[in-house]
Structure formats: C-alpha cells, structure tokens
C-alpha cells in the first residue's frame, strides 16, 4: 500500500477544475476532492460503527433510533450523552491537530515541525498541570490551557524575531522552549500529591475520555472559524513554500501572512490541547500522509489533511477503547501506532532516493 501511496505522488496528474461563482473562483484538483469525499464517507461509517461499540452493545438500528430520538431512554443516554460527545470530540480534535501541523510544516519548510515540537502544546500542558496540581476548578481548564499555548507561542515568536522570522531559528527556539516547559511540568508533577499527580499525568497523555457536549461546542466553534481561514491562507502558504524571496517577489506581504498563519496554527492546536491534552504525533504524521496521497499543500489538500486527521484520531481512540484488554488514552495509541508507522513511511520514502 505504501508503494502505491508513494508512486501516486510521483505520477500525480491533477485533474484541475475551475469553480466559479460570481466574483469567487477557485481552481481545485478534482482527484483531491474525490479523495476527500471518500475519506469523509469512511469517517461517517467509522463514527457509526463507533457508536455501536462499548460494554453495552447496541445494534446500528438502535443507534439510529436513539439519534432520531425514538430509542429507549437507556440507549438514548448511552448514545447521546456518553458515546456521541466522545466521538465528536475525536472527530473535531483530529483535524485541528493535523491542520495545525500542516501550517507549521509549510511555514517553516521543514517536515519535522509541529506544534508538539516547537513548544505550543508544552505551554498548554505546563499551565494545565499547574492548574490541576493546585486544585483549581477543572471547568476553567480548557481556557487556561489555551492561554498557556498562546503565551508559549508568543514567547517562541518573540525570541525568534530578528526583524523577520527565519524558519530554522523558529525551530531551534521552539525546541528550547519546549524542553524548558516540559522540565518545569515534570517538576510540578513530581512535587504534587499522588492523586493530583495521577490526574495531571492522565491529562498529559492526551485523551478524549469523558468529553462533554460543552467541549464539543468549544471545538466545533473553533474549527468552524479557524478551518476556513486556514484554507484561505493556504493560497499564500503554497507560495511561501517556494521560498521567502519568491513570496516577496510575487508581491506577498510576507510578515503579515506569516503572522496570520502562526496565529491560526496556534489557535487550532491550543483549543484541541486545552480540551484533550497534548495528543502526540497526529500533527506531525497526518500532513505527511496527506501530501503523499494528494501532493503539495494547498487549500484542498489542507481540507483533506483535516479529514484524514479525524479518521486517524477516531480510529486510534476506538483501538484504545475497544481493541485492547485495558482501555488506553488515545494519546498512548497515537504514539504507539503513529511513531513506528511514521518511521516506516520515512524509511520507504528514503529507500527510493
């Protein structure tokens, strides 16, 4: 399968279509749209399947009945209050992480960058662990984690600013900030009471366990705003990938575009992390997969990245929840499955060179 993935890229022959509505015109690759549609259908099927799974098995008919409000009270409670929020959280968090990774990787022109590498997630984790171990109200956790992510991103941005932002410097500063924040977080966990510490560690692994409708609303709102903005910005990111000089010589206000991209990337990642904790490898891995399948990043490939992210995170959560003898947080699954798979992909791609 991997060979098929790889060769589909070298022999990529886009079927370009121009979509025109009044003053609005887009040029998209029909094959990417088809792939996105296919992935969406798969996502829908996977979600439906996930709704039937659990210690209390429900046939698909009962799930549909519960969704339409005509099932038994018990089924309705299980489907609508327990399973649906968790599934929706996974389906919303996956795209946010993946899109954030795609933005940072394109911006810095480096495939090794993602918000979990350059300290954005570590910032959220630091503040959240502080919040948990000092026994503040858990209701405000998402908000403070978001603040932490934004503060960490601002620190990285300010420290790497020398009249303009250079990619390599941003990575180095990001890795430094990431290390410092992770160390501080570990320190807090070690010093905390055992109960607080175990709660903090669970949060830090990243999980969508016990997501509420409130979480889903926060996530949906953020994705509904930032997703389209991200797609629109891809038009410029496509150009930035050919180099700063090229971007500026075709008349791009580079610093402004770059700042917008960083804000959107941070926003996507921070909201996701604030709800679910730092789930690793999704942001790093999914954009690679998407580019291998669909070609260099652009608006449609960005949307495709999002759908792939949803598929992957939901799949990982289902594996963690149902396929193993003990339930595992999704963050453990993405790391355990994602890291080796990623290495394998890299190996296969390199073997061709």
């Amino acid at each position: 399968m991997v060979r098929a993935l790889v060769s589909s890229q070298t022999e990529r022959r886009p079927r370009l279509r121009v979509v025109r509505v009044g003053g609005v015109a887009f040029r998209v690759d029909a094959s990417v749209l088809a792939m996105t549609g296919l992935a969406l259908a798969a996502l829908l099927a996977l979600s439906a399947w996930a709704l039937t799974l659990g210690s209390y098995r429900l046939p698909l008919a009962a799930v549909i009945a519960a969704l339409s409000g005509s099932g038994s009270d018990e089924a309705q409670f299980i489907v609508l209050d327990l399973r649906l929020p968790r599934i929706l959280a996974a389906v919303l968090i996956g795209p946010m992480l993946a899109m954030s990774g795609a933005i940072f990787q394109g911006l810095v022109r480096n495939p090794l960058v993602s918000p979990d590498v350059i300290g954005v997630n570590a910032g959220a984790a630091f503040v959240a662990v502080f919040w948990i171990t000092t026994r503040h109200s858990p209701a405000a956790l998402p908000l403070v984690a978001f603040a932490g992510a934004v503060v960490a991103a601002s620190i990285v941005y300010l420290l790497s600013w020398r009249g303009h932002i250079a990619g390599p410097r941003l990575i180095l500063v990001g890795i430094g900030v990431n290390a410092a924040l992770s160390a501080a977080t570990s320190f807090m966990v070690v010093r905390a009471e055992i109960n607080d510490a175990s709660r903090a560690v669970l949060w830090m692994t990243g999980s969508v366990y016990a997501s509420t409708w409130n979480d889903v609303r926060t996530l949906a709102l953020a994705l509904a705003v930032l997703g389209p903005v991200g797609i629109a910005l891809m038009w410029s990111l496509r150009v930035i990938q050919a180099g700063d000089l090229v971007a500026r010589s075709v008349g791009m206000p580079l610093e402004r575009v770059r700042l917008s991209l960083i804000l959107v990337g941070c926003g996507l990642s921070a909201v996701a992390v604030s709800v679910a904790g730092p789930i690793g490898f999704v942001a790093l891995m999914v954009p690679h997969l998407a580019r291998m399948l669909a070609g260099p990043m652009c608006g449609s490939v960005f949307a495709f990245t999002g759908v792939l992210g949803a598929l992957l995170l939901l799949g990982a959560d289902m594996v963690g929840q149902h396929a193993l003898p003990v339930g595992l947080p999704v963050g453990v699954v993405t790391a355990a499955v994602g890291a080796p798979y990623f290495l394998y992909l890299l190996y296969r791609v390199n073997a061709r060179l």
């Binding site: 890229q9 070298t10 990529r12 022959r13 886009p14 121009v18 003053g23 609005v24 015109a25 887009f26 040029r27 022109r109 629109a232 910005l233 038009w235 410029s236 496509r238 150009v239 990938q241 050919a242 180099g243 000089l245 090229v246 500026r248 010589s249 075709v250 008349g251 791009m252 206000p253 580019r291 070609g295 260099p296 990043m297 608006g299 061709r352 060179l353």
Partner: protein, 553 residues
Amino acid sequence: MARLLADTVTLAYGRDRVVVDGLSLEIPDKAVTAIIGPNGCGKSTLLRALARLLAPQRGCVVLDGEAIHRLPTREVARRLSLLPQQASAPEAITVEDLVRRGRYPHQSFFQPPSRRDQVAVERALELAGMTELRDVPVDELSGGQRQRAWIAMTLAQETPLLLLDEPTTYLDIAHQQEVLALIRWLNREEGRTVVLVVHDVNHAAQVSDCVVAMRGGQVVAQGPPDRVLSPELLERVFEVPCEVVVPSASGSPVCMPRGRALPPGNSAPAGRAALRAERLSSGYSRRPVLRDVTVSLPAGRVTAIVGPNACGKSTLLRTLARLLKPEAGIVFLDERPVWESSHREFARRLALLAQGATVPEGLLVEELVAIGRYPYQRWYRQWSERDQQAVERAMVATGVIDLRWRAVETLSGGQRQRAWLAMALAQETPVLLLDEPTTFLDIAHQVEVLDLVWELSRSEGRTVVVVLHDLNQACRYADELVVMKDGRVVAAGPPAEVVDQELVRDVFGVDSTVIPDPATGRPLVLPGRALEFELASERLGEAEPRGRAWRGA
C-alpha cells in the same frame, strides 16, 4: 596500463535510473583530463564512481590494477582525492581546520598529526592562496574563496591522483584563471594526474591534455583538445551550433555557442530609463555592500550587470526589486519611487528571478508557474481565464509546456531553470530582473535562456536586467553593460564602448586580449592569450569582423 580506468561500468541511482551505461575509459597518467558534456550526461556520476563513492551496477573501476571497491577506503584516499561539487562545511570551522582534515587518511589513532602533516597543510594553503584567510570561518567566505578553501583541503591530501568536480563554478574570471593555472602547475611541476569535470568548454580547452566528451552516459570522443573540440563534435554533444576560434600561436581553441538570436554588432541606442537608481547605498545588517550607486536601466533593452565575485551584483538587483531596503538613495520604476507602491501593484510591474530558490517536494511545473500569477489573485478569486492564458503562454515561451505535469525536482538543471523563468514570465511584468539565470546550465541551455531573454526584449518590448557570470555572454547579448566592482558602478554603456583590456584588468584582475567577436563584431574577451587568431569554422567565413580596431593590440 593507466593507473585509473573504468571498465564497462554501468552506474545507476536506484533500480531504474541508469545514468552511465557500459562505459569504458582510461585516464592517461600524469596528464590533465577534462570531462565535458551537457547537463545530466553522467559526468559527475562517473567522477564519483572513479573516486569510489558510488559502486557500479556492473563493471568495475580499476586503480593500480586492482578493483577499487576491494581496496580499503584509507588506501584509496592516499592515492586519490576528490573535490566534490557544492560541498558544505560544518558551521564555524576555520579554513585551516578544514584543510587539516585533508590529512585524515595519513593519520591514525596511534599516529597523531606529525610535522609532515603540518608542512602539507601549509603548502596546500599557500598553493590555493588561502594562507591569509587561514583563521577565517569557512561559512564567512565568499563563494570563490570557499571553493579555494576546499581545493586546499584536497591538495593537503597529497595524492598523485586528483579528481575535481566543477572546480571553476562560482568563481569570477580572475579566480577561474588562478584555479586553472594551479591545476596546470600541479600537473607540470608535480606530475599529478588530474581529472576534472567542467561545464565551461573553454576551461577544458585551456587546461587539459585530453578531453573526454560525454553524452547520454556514453563517451562520444576522447583526445587532445584541438582535435576533440571541433564545431561538429560540439554540436553533436551539446546540440547547439558552436563557433571555434583557434589562436594560431600555440593557444588553445575558444568555443562560443551560437544561439538562434544573434544580436547585431551595434547595440540599439538606449532610450527612456525604465528603472533608475539614484545614489543608492544598501547592504545587510552590519555589512554595507553598495556604495553610492547611480544607474539607469533603459526600457525595452537588455542590460547585463557584470563584475567579480562579491562585487554587489545580486545586492543591487535585490535593492532594485525592493527586496532589500536601501540605507540611502532612491529607486525609481517608471519615474516613481518603488517604495511608494503596494506589494501587489509592484509585483505586477516588476518580476525577479532569484538565485537558489527551493521547490517543495512533488510540486508540478504547472503549479510552479502558476505561483507567478499571485499578484493578480485574491484568496477568494484564485483563478481566472487570464491566469490560465498567462501560464500557458509562459510555458510555451520557455519550452516547458511538455513538462507541465512533471514534478519540478525530477527535472534536469536546465529544465528546472526554464520552469523558474516561466514562473517569472507568468507574472507578465514590463520589467524582468534575472539573477544569474545561466549558472549550472550547460552551454546549450545557457544559449537557450539568453536567446529567450533577447527575444522577450525585442518582440515584447520588455525591459530585462540580468546578472551574468560570463563576460562574453554579457557582451554578446546585452544592449547595455553595467560593470561593478567593490559595490560601485565603474563603467556603464554599450559593450563595445565599455569592454577593453584595461577594464578587464582593472575590474577582474586578469590579463586578457579583447577581439571583435567574429560572429557579431561585439567584444570577445580571451583571458591570458596571444594576439593573432584565425577562424576554425568555415561557416564564419562570411561574418567579417566589423571594423572595430583590436583593442589593446
């Protein structure tokens, strides 16, 4: 038998990309052998195989009667050294440190650096002319100095066999001549065997005893330069008509490729200035590069900016293109200060093809060219009929239309350069700035690009400003020359009025002879050569030199 030879070697990258197919070649001992050929003909690949860096699929490379792959690396490294192309040095390493590394094969854990190593390092530094720069970090050197630092490292290895991959790329004429003289000296005085890959045919002619012409992974011809470098053979190898001028007195032949466009001997008179800089000073944070530059670039003409390495050519181009804010002075585009217009508006009037741009993996040619349309688009209006037409036109003009669905990274150097040029053309600007568009291209592709540039200015009336490395190409194609040195403009005007022996000596620091180009009558610079010439090509019989007296004769 020769010390180094290739016996029916087949070289490939991966399983299916065969670059060299069943090639046999004997490297003559104690001679200078130059390998020439078009981009992608396998010359660098062959050199890497000769240096044991690449294992042949079939056949073998033989060093002193033994298969080179059976010999231990250290043993090979004591007999043979390779100067790679575009080597990169670790950060902050000094020239002396770098050169010292050349001694590695002569040392071991139990044999720490000895006096002999120190002597070899000193000698290598001196030969390469790097003694004064020994304590400077390699990454702070200019392109030419860096190349010489690497040559010094290769020399410190003190091997009887020297393999050099494009030793003259990045260098200006003076440094090129220096390196060629050094190669000659190493061969004559020390009896070293030298194999070099060069893309400038004239360097091969100047320095070698034996020329190997390659095409499509095969040796087309091998022999002394005056026999191999005939117009017929060059045309067969490079697929471009060439003129060969042979100096009657013991000089080596000089080849000039001839393109479709043959600009007339008299440059068209310059009219209105499209782009004008007034008292410009510019540079990078702590390092001023341009000092008080005033220059005027005529509309609808080709202007070439020439000068030695690090003279500020690229900086001038970037300041003109508004990529660099000047510390003092103003740039006018159509008599309007460039910093007054918006990014988008400016990009519709002036396009810059920069040097060394990166391509994202998997990007197709058509997608790259479409980037040029950015200033005409908005995020909500990403494509229009006009965009489509401009992209098609640009691809047709540069001849990449058949490559439109190929990924850019799979193209050869020449094709890639043309794809980038198509991107700049798709921007549809009246003014086009090109930074060294011919570097890395073989002569056929160089001529192709320059022909295109000439046609753009003549048929579409575009203003073209191009930074060129090769003084002769600049003389042949430019209506106006701007000659720079040390961040200043030292001369400007039509090539015939500007270029003479004194200028070449003052600016580039090399003795030369300037004769009228037999094909056009424009100046032709022959570095360090005798005065009498005769034409080798019958074809040129009718093209009389147009009456300009030989300068400096």
